[in-house]
């Protein structure tokens, strides 16, 4: 269990409050009218929502992993965090090379990059 405090209080309760507040902001951001902000920033309203949701999801992710899953503050946190980060490399590969490519990317490759060109 955690042997530290957050702002002098129990870390689990503080983490719980934080997650509830961030989730409420997340849900509120979807319902809020941000057309004027979008216009001022020269972005689409969807784009602003995406940014807000991403910015909120990142700390939520770390708060759960670090405090609830004890990847911070325990004697074995360091090595377990390294274990947890091990697939990060593969995740980056998958997101970059699968998630961010076009569905028709394979058919759009240059001729030298297609099967058959090198006798394969």
């Amino acid at each position: 269990m955690a042997n530290y405090k957050i702002l002098g209080r129990d870390p689990y309760w503080m983490n719980f409050y934080g997650l509830m507040i961030l989730t409420a902001i997340e849900v509120g951001a979807v319902g809020a009218d941000m057309s004027s902000t979008a216009e001022a920033l020269n972005m689409s309203e969807d784009g602003i929502t995406l940014w807000i949701l991403t910015i909120i999801a990142i700390p939520k992710f770390f708060m759960i992993a670090a405090i609830f899953m004890h990847l911070y503050g325990d004697p074995d946190s360091g090595i377990l965090t390294m274990t947890a980060l091990f697939p990060a490399f593969f995740i980056i590969i998958m997101i970059l090379f699968i998630g961010l490519t076009h569905p028709d990317a394979a058919t759009g490759l240059p001729a030298w990059c297609r099967p058959g060109t090198w006798g394969l």
Partner: protein, 327 residues
């Protein structure tokens, strides 16, 4: 248990066939007997595992002896390795979603192009000619607070359940309270987690299949919230019509083939839901064990390991909820 679960998944997949004429999956019932065999094998495995666990008093928890995990519980490391393999599963689903989301045009953008006209708008959509485009579920779900309610309540339910499982572990490890109080508190927190998990799946069913009705309460107007399936948002939808895809001047409807977007939504959120369902099975047993007073300060590792799994399920939802439900 692994053999049973593997057999179940293998047989389950074979029980459906794709009918080219109907353009949908049909139930064939092939291998039904093997499905029961798989369920029996899994149940026996769980029964034996739980029977052994009930008498486990925590006096021997194997620790790793080699570097780099020296003196760390082997089962805890194993749990993290398992969770990372799970992370890969969800990453592959998420990258699939990103690929199609970024690669296909959004249906509302296609609709905004306007009705086809050979002279003035040759690139527009035509009535009764389905357009293959990406229709995010959020277009329906985030269209009103009532549509969003089940998903939003579920998000809070999962966060609260993550907190209650930590509290169960805390009380199980407390040495300065008497045994009876510990037993009651641990049972209460595990039971609460169980109830919240059931609530999560119930709301998921409401959102997907059932829908709900809000009567006129004076300060709240009458509403009928249709389920996603009732709205036509299904994995086989090749003539999907969102109620807003109507050309005001002519009354023509734009129809869309949304199989890709609906599939990514249902497969990802369904896989997450299956993990919650698996958690409910584990929680049922753990709540029973807690009620029998099975968790003590020296024997609380099961709650800790299950907690890691449960937090992971919450962690996945942190990503799934904004990107599949809100955006």
């Amino acid at each position: 248990m692994s053999i049973g679960i593997g057999l179940f998944l293998f047989v389950f997949a074979g029980m459906f066939d794709y009918d080219l004429e109907l353009s949908e999956h049909v139930y064939t019932g092939e291998g039904l007997i093997w499905m029961f065999v798989a369920i029996i094998i899994t149940s026996i495995g769980m029964f034996v595992f739980w029977r052994q666990d009930l008498s486990f008093d925590g006096t021997y928890e194997p620790l790793a002896t080699g570097s780099p995990f020296r003196n760390i519980q082997i089962r805890k490391v194993g749990m993290f390795v398992f969770l990372m393999s799970e992370m890969m599963v969800f990453t592959s689903l998420f990258s699939t979603y990103m690929r199609y989301r970024l690669g296909l045009r959004r249906c509302d953008d296609v609709f905004a192009d306007g009705l086809f006209d050979p002279v003035t708008n040759p690139t527009g959509w035509q009535e009764a000619v389905p357009v293959t485009c990406f229709e995010p579920a959020s277009h329906l779900i985030a269209s009103s607070w009532w549509h969003l309610a089940p998903g939003a309540v579920n998000t809070f339910a999962l966060i609260i359940s993550s907190f209650t499982i930590v509290q169960a572990l805390r009380y199980a490890k407390k040495t300065d309270i008497d045994e009876e109080l510990r037993r009651r508190r641990v049972t209460m927190f595990l039971g609460t987690t169980w109830v919240l998990a059931i609530l999560f799946l119930t709301l998921k069913m409401v959102e997907w299949f059932v829908g709900f009705y809000i009567p006129d309460l004076g300060f709240i107007h009458e509403h009928e919230i249709k389920s996603l399936v009732a709205e036509g948002y299904t994995i086989g939808a090749d003539h999907y019509q969102h109620h807003s895809y109507v050309d005001e001047a002519t009354g023509a409807h734009m129809t869309a083939n949304i199989r890709v977007s609906a599939s990514t939504f249902y497969v990802t959120t369904g896989t997450h839901g299956a993990h919650v369902a698996g958690g409910i099975i584990g929680l049922t047993y753990m709540t029973y064990k807690a009620w029998r007073g099975g968790y003590t300060p020296t024997n609380a590792v099961s709650i800790e390991y299950f907690g890691l799994y449960w937090h992971f399920v919450d962690l996945v939802w942190v990503i799934v909820f904004p990107f599949f439900y809100l955006y």
